[in-house]
């Protein structure tokens, strides 16, 4: 029996570390481990004892690319606990800054991280030599997203303007209107991006996923809504932990999430799209139709098209919100702490982000729990890899490794950068 081992070790980078180990006995996968060995960052522990108002600024530090997600889920949890609802103007501003985050995160992933896989380039640097206009377009879109985060959030990275109850300062109409020309350019560029990625060749993989995403009665989900699934679940954030559980797996420092009956599930753009396609904005919906994207999309490689459609949606929504903008006055509502437990969710670029906090009567945090999208997707990523490898055993180790990396990047895990710079070691038994 032939035994082959695909072992992808990882070259150190700051933001995350991951690895893939596959052992084949003949045509059977005997071991498959997608590991994340990024050191745990203990945010949940060091939030203990901090004031409830500090949580958006602390959790925004978890990730440099999706701070708005962390801020929003934590704010939602605190407002839930303290019985606060915010006026529509604050909701609109939250959605606007979230649009900025989706644009910057998705544009980075589509052009710099994922497109090279589809077009056969080792990295964006190599891709840029042959496709300079496309890469420039991606970078400019990303920058347009950053500008939204900067203007609404006070600065681009780890923004500082969001707080429990609203914002420290509401941007003026004039400040927001200044963004319009670049956002209009961005909308057009995003539509071209959908056309571009639709023309890629997609490895043949279709899986029967359990999709989980938020849903809101008025809009494509970002900062608010319930949690729904493709098998009919429809719950509030309060009930999340009754249905989804995390457990520690030895090979990974990230926790693995499963449903309470032990199933892997899929969060992120594809889940959002499949469960909310009826809420796409007009141009995003038309772009999805042109791309032949009909829910349920079940080929994970097509997530790159879904991301492009969501960029269109985010530009459209940003432009709409700015056109209708009425600065909230005051920019935040007063929030008094209440002892108890609060739950919050939001749709970070990579998918559902759950937070739970227990605070005492003085507003000090007693316990915190954060479930990021990447840990929820880990079992699904392994299942994808299992099917992909089984169906492609005839490929060379090199080609198979390439497809595996590409498949991992379908989820834009927070180790994307890491997996773009991989050392491959082959060990044939």
């Amino acid at each position: 029996m032939t035994r082959r081992v695909i072992d992808v070790n990882y070259l150190a980078r700051v933001e995350g570390e991951g690895s893939l180990y596959v052992k084949l006995d003949g045509d059977t996968i005997s071991e498959l481990e997608f590991g994340i060995f990024e050191p745990p960052r203990f945010f949940e522990a060091f939030l203990q004892g901090r004031d409830f108002t500090e949580v958006p600024d602390i959790t925004s530090r978890i990730c440099g690319i999706c701070p708005i997600g962390y801020q929003t889920s934590s704010i939602n949890a605190m407002e839930d606990l303290c019985g606060v609802t915010v006026p529509a103007e604050i909701d609109a501003l939250r959605r606007l800054i979230y649009c900025g985050e989706w644009i910057e995160s998705h544009a980075l992933h589509v052009f710099l991280l994922h497109a090279p896989d589809f077009l056969g380039y080792e990295s964006a640097i190599h891709l840029a030599k042959d496709f300079p206009d496309e890469v420039k377009m991606g970078l400019r879109m990303k920058k347009a997203g950053n500008s939204v985060v900067q203007v609404v959030g006070g600065r681009e990275i780890h923004p500082i303007n969001m707080k429990v109850g609203g914002f420290f300062r509401a941007p003026t109409r004039r400040e927001l209107r200044a963004l319009i020309p670049e956002l209009e350019w961005g909308l057009d560029a995003a539509l071209r991006t959908v056309n571009l990625v639709t023309g890629f060749t997609f490895p043949d993989l279709k899986r029967d996923y359990l999709f989980v995403a938020m849903r809101h009665e008025d809009e494509y989900p970002m900062a608010r809504g319930r949690v729904v699934s493709s098998d009919g679940l429809d719950i509030t954030a309060h009930e999340y932990e009754d249905h989804f559980q995390e457990s520690h797996v030895e090979r990974s420092n990230a926790l693995h999430s499963l449903t309470s009956d032990g199933r892997a599930y899929h969060v992120g753009p594809m889940a959002r799209f499949n469960l909310n396609a009826d809420f796409l904005t007009p141009q995003a919906s038309a772009a999805a139709t042109r791309a032949n994207l009909v829910p349920p999309v079940t080929n994970p490689f097509q997530s790159i098209i879904v991301r492009a459609v969501e960029i269109v949606l985010a530009f459209e929504e940003a432009l709409r919100i700015i056109a209708e903008y009425d600065p909230p006055e005051p920019p935040a509502v007063e929030v008094s702490p209440a002892a108890g437990v609060g739950f919050g969710v939001s749709e970070a670029p990579r998918g559902l982000l759950f937070h739970r906090y227990q605070i005492d009567g003085h507003g000090l945090i007693e316990e915190a729990r954060i479930v990021p999208p990447t840990s929820q997707n880990q079992p699904t990523i392994e299942a994808d890899l299992h099917d992909l490898i089984t169906a492609n055993l005839s490929l060379s180790d090199e080609d198979l490794t390439w497809q595996c990396e590409q498949a991992i990047r379908n989820y834009d895990p927070c180790i994307s950068c890491a997996t773009h710079f991989l050392d491959l070691r082959l060990d044939r038994g």
């Binding site: 980078r13 700051v14 933001e15 530090r61 990730c63 440099g64 690319i65 980075l108 710099l112 964006a124 640097i125 190599h126 891709l127 840029a128 030599k129 300079p132 890469v135 420039k136 970078l139 400019r140 990303k142 920058k143 950053n146 681009e156 990275i157 780890h158 927070c414 994307s416 950068c417 890491a418 773009h420």
Partner: protein
């Protein structure tokens, strides 16, 4: 003399990586003839700052592990690919990669000089380590030389 600029890159929350912004502040207070910018290193922003320049003097903390902390060295990026020596910022796009990306896009100034200050620590923290702090005058002298000579 063609268009020149000094562009300082870094992150104040990552110990010695804060030397870029600190030097930018110091240089801005001197009202130099050459424009001084601070950038968080976002590649789109760097492309904008580089547009139209003949020479860019980049300032950043580097972690080669081959020099003593505080060592100031100058690398010319105009000739051949830089080793990936820069810190990785959000999602791993460091200055060296941004420079190489711009080179691929034919958007890199003809003359790019990286004044790198060897870091001791890039861990979370708002203070420079003593060796790196002590290197600031040397680094500034080197930056002004690179920005000013023919």
């Amino acid at each position: 003399m063609g268009e020149r600029a000094i562009i300082c890159v870094g992150n104040r929350s990552r110990s010695d990586d804060g030397i870029g912004p600190l030097i930018a502040e110091e240089l801005l207070s001197r009202n130099l003839d050459v424009p001084v910018h601070f950038s968080n290193g976002e590649p789109g922003e760097l492309l904008d700052l580089w547009r139209g320049l003949d020479r860019a003097v980049m300032v950043d903390a580097v972690l080669t592990g081959r020099s003593e902390p505080g060592t100031v060295q100058v690398l010319r990026a105009g000739d051949e690919p830089l080793p990936v020596i820069s810190h990785a910022s959000s999602h791993g796009i460091g200055l060296a990669e941004s420079i190489e990306l711009a080179r691929s896009l034919r958007a890199l100034p003809a003359d790019v000089r990286l004044v790198g200050i060897e870091a001791e620590s890039l861990e979370p923290g708002s203070e420079l380590t003593p060796a790196v702090r002590a290197a600031i005058p040397d680094a500034i002298e080197q930056i002004l030389t690179e920005a000013g000579d023919a």
